[in-house]
């Protein structure tokens, strides 16, 4: 991956781990160990991705995020501790693009980074077609088929699929999904989301009980993995 990544992490061992993993993939990595330092680095270098640890010593990671988002659209991957679902959701709502919970495996880290970079680099899928598993979706003609046979999706199921697919690889919070698919009035009715994701799984997953495309991010939202 020919990308430049800024890693903001105060624990030197974790910083080294992430740096090595990214450099192993061919990324150019800059680092910052504090909030202040990170804003300077982000402002003076051209970066394609930022990896930000929420638990920084001097500034609240959330503050760094807000600062960044006030002048940049660079994708941000949050590193968070387990059990802080509230923080993750808040960070995502503040403009972070995805999160990784510590402890994480290097493979997960790279998968998330790839997904975010791909989205950022390719602004849209020109063909309007998406294939995953044995499903083929054509968003121009608004058809979905599985194993060659047409699958009927209701209006809402279809809209949910498009929102998820448009953000493939990235986690979407419950709030975001409710707002995009159902509308602002429904932001607190998460149970709709669960039922409809369940229906999409039933219709489009090989094994709905063990889904591989429509993934649950507990306490945060959902992620579509083509």
């Amino acid at each position: 991956m020919d990308v430049t990544v800024l890693v903001i992490e105060d624990e030197p061992q974790i910083l080294r781990l992430v740096k090595n993993a990214l450099e192993g993939e061919g990324c150019r990595v800059f680092t910052a160990a504090s909030g202040e330092r990170s804003l300077i680095e982000a402002g003076t270098r051209k970066v394609d991705l930022i990896v930000l640890d929420l638990g920084l010593p001097d500034m609240d990671g959330m503050e760094v995020l807000r600062h960044l988002r006030s002048w940049s659209h660079v994708p941000v991957l949050i590193l968070s501790a387990r059990g802080d679902e509230d923080d993750k959701v808040r960070a995502l709502d503040e403009g972070a693009d995805d999160y990784l919970a510590k402890p994480f495996g290097v493979a997960e880290l790279l998968a998330r980074v790839r997904a975010l970079v791909r989205r950022h680099v390719r602004h849209e899928d020109s063909s309007g077609r998406l294939a995953f598993g044995d499903v083929e979706a054509d968003f121009v003609r608004r058809t979905v088929s599985r194993g060659g046979e047409a699958v009927h999706l209701t209006k809402i199921e279809y809209r949910l699929l498009t929102v998820l697919a448009a953000n493939a690889g990235k986690v979407l919070t419950h709030r975001h999904l409710m707002r995009e698919v159902w509308g602002p009035a429904y932001v607190d009715s998460n149970h709709y989301l669960r039922i409809y994701v369940g229906r999409l799984r039933q219709k489009l997953e090989a094994d709905p009980a063990q889904p591989v495309h429509f993934l649950t991010e507990t306490g945060v939202g959902y992620r579509f993995q083509p």
Binding site: L17, R82, G83, K102, V106, L109, H191, Y192, R194, I195
Partner: protein
């Protein structure tokens, strides 16, 4: 004012003193015969009767009264040294004097008795109050016994206190059971029950009942103080244990993150490792993940116990929960095929997704840990016949729970086999139980007849909100 009045019993000395008093008065009166008339001297004699009654008792006072009349008649009233008074009016004087003397004797004696009785009562009450105060301040049974002994010694009675019910009653003793809210604590025995007359026995009976009730209260208080102390010690110990666990696991989080990350990098290294090294790196990764899981359990337990966790209930689908848990445990399930049987159209259940995911993960992780490689794991969901509970069941084909320990498996730090090579702290099932209980549900463990362990949990079904379907 603690002057002790002697009890009303006439002593030989008292009679002698009575006679002496009369004679002394007469000797004093004779020289005053002239200036004071007989009437005035009679008053003098009366005063003496009064004081004798007050100090020496009724008997001597009556004697004094009688002797006074005789002496007055013989020595003072004219004719001197003659018994028959010259003037008839003196008969009245003598008669009245005798009457008044007797009445005075009687009244003064009564006054004296009453004062003695009141003083006696006051003393008894004071001793009872001192006993109550000592019992209230007693910190153990020995002090209770000592307070009772001191009380009985001051009163000159003999009592015995038997605590509990296993000692035989002393012969001939009156028993006063110590009872607190229906629980027998012991018995108070009065050993010299026959001393004193019947009225004394009745008063004593009332008093001893009061003593018995004081003893019962004191014993009960000791019991609850000890209970509270034990409880406090236990709470402090558990709180300490939890904060130590939390601090330790907090400090371990960064090294764990690095460890798992590095183990993962090694395992996935670009250049293929020689087979032995590849196997080692896989084993390293597995153990690292197992420790990571232990750490998570410890942190969860500490958080649950700190009381700061509040359930964030939302209407969720069991399917979601199971799917998320299975995905989280993918590495651990590499050697164990999972058969999932979900009841279709299971209603929404109100639960905290993050906590319940922990529960399901713990159950599935246990099943994987204790199953031989290749053995399948079964996960199922269903609603029971009554329709009020939603169940999740996780079964494996491992050795099962040790017989006889089924009931204890959900206790803290309880491990099936303490010497097991499988890493564990015995927290997983305890956490499951606490989380499920916080949801108002339940969890059970059993061994399958065909081999293997099964753990199933249930959550109550509520009234899920309706979902407007679109076509």
């Amino acid at each position: 004012m603690n002057r002790s009045f002697p009890l009303p019993s006439a002593r030989a000395g008292a009679w002698a003193l009575a006679v002496l008093a009369s004679v002394a008065t007469a000797l004093v009166a004779v020289p005053l015969r002239g200036p004071l008339g007989p009437a005035n001297i009679a008053m003098l004699f009366l005063i003496v009767v009064f004081f004798v009654a007050l100090r020496l008792g009724r008997g001597p006072a009556v004697l004094t009264a009688g002797i006074n009349v005789v002496l007055l008649d013989y020595v003072i009233v004219p004719p001197h040294f003659g018994l028959i008074p010259a003037d008839v009016q003196y008969i009245v004087t003598l008669g009245v004097m005798l009457t008044v003397g007797l009445v005075t004797a009687h009244l003064a004696d009564g006054l004296r008795r009453q004062a003695a009785v009141a003083a006696g009562e006051e003393r008894e009450t004071r001793l009872l109050y001192e006993l109550a105060r000592e019992l209230a301040g007693s910190a153990n049974r020995d002090q209770i016994h000592a307070a009772l002994a001191s009380y009985s010694a001051k009163r000159g009675r003999r009592v015995a206190l038997h605590l509990g019910e296993d000692q035989p009653a002393p012969a001939g003793a009156l028993a006063y059971p110590l009872d607190a809210a229906g629980t027998p604590l012991g018995t108070l025995y009065l050993l010299d029950a026959d001393a004193g007359g019947r009225p004394a026995r009745q008063a004593e009976d009332v008093r001893l009942q009061a003593v018995a009730s004081l003893l019962a209260t004191a014993l009960e208080r000791l019991h609850y103080v000890r209970l509270a102390q034990d409880n406090e010690v236990e709470i402090a110990a558990e709180r300490l244990r939890n904060s130590v666990l939390a601090a330790v696991s907090h400090d371990l989080r960064t090294p764990m993150t690095v460890l798992i990350g590095l183990a993962d990098s090694l395992h996935l290294s670009r250049e293929p490792l020689p087979p032995a090294a590849a196997e080692t790196s896989l084993a390293l990764l597995r153990q690292a993940r197992a420790i990571g899981n232990l750490l998570n359990n410890v942190l969860d337990m500490a958080r649950l116990h700190s009381g700061k966790t509040r359930l964030r209930r939302e209407w969720q689908l069991f399917d979601d929960l199971i799917a998320a848990s299975l995905r989280l445990l993918k590495p651990q399930l590499a050697d164990h095929p999972v058969k999932v049987r979900l009841q279709p159209d299971l209603p929404l259940v109100e639960l905290d997704a993050v906590l319940m995911e922990r529960v399901v993960c713990n159950l599935i992780d246990n099943a994987a840990k204790y199953s031989p490689a290749g053995a399948p794991i079964e996960v199922g969901t269903y609603v029971d016949e009554a329709g009020s509970r939603a169940w999740i069941e996780v079964c494996d084909h491992g050795p099962g729970f040790p017989a006889g320990k089924l009931a204890r498996m959900f206790e803290l730090f309880e491990r099936g086999n303490p010497e097991s090579a499988v890493p564990g702290l015995g927290l997983g099932l305890a956490i499951c139980q606490r989380i499920v209980a916080a949801h108002g549900g339940g969890i059970e463990a059993r061994n399958r007849p065909e081999g293997g362990a099964c753990v199933k949990l249930w959550l109550p079904l509520g009234n899920p909100p309706p979902v407007d379907d679109d076509a």
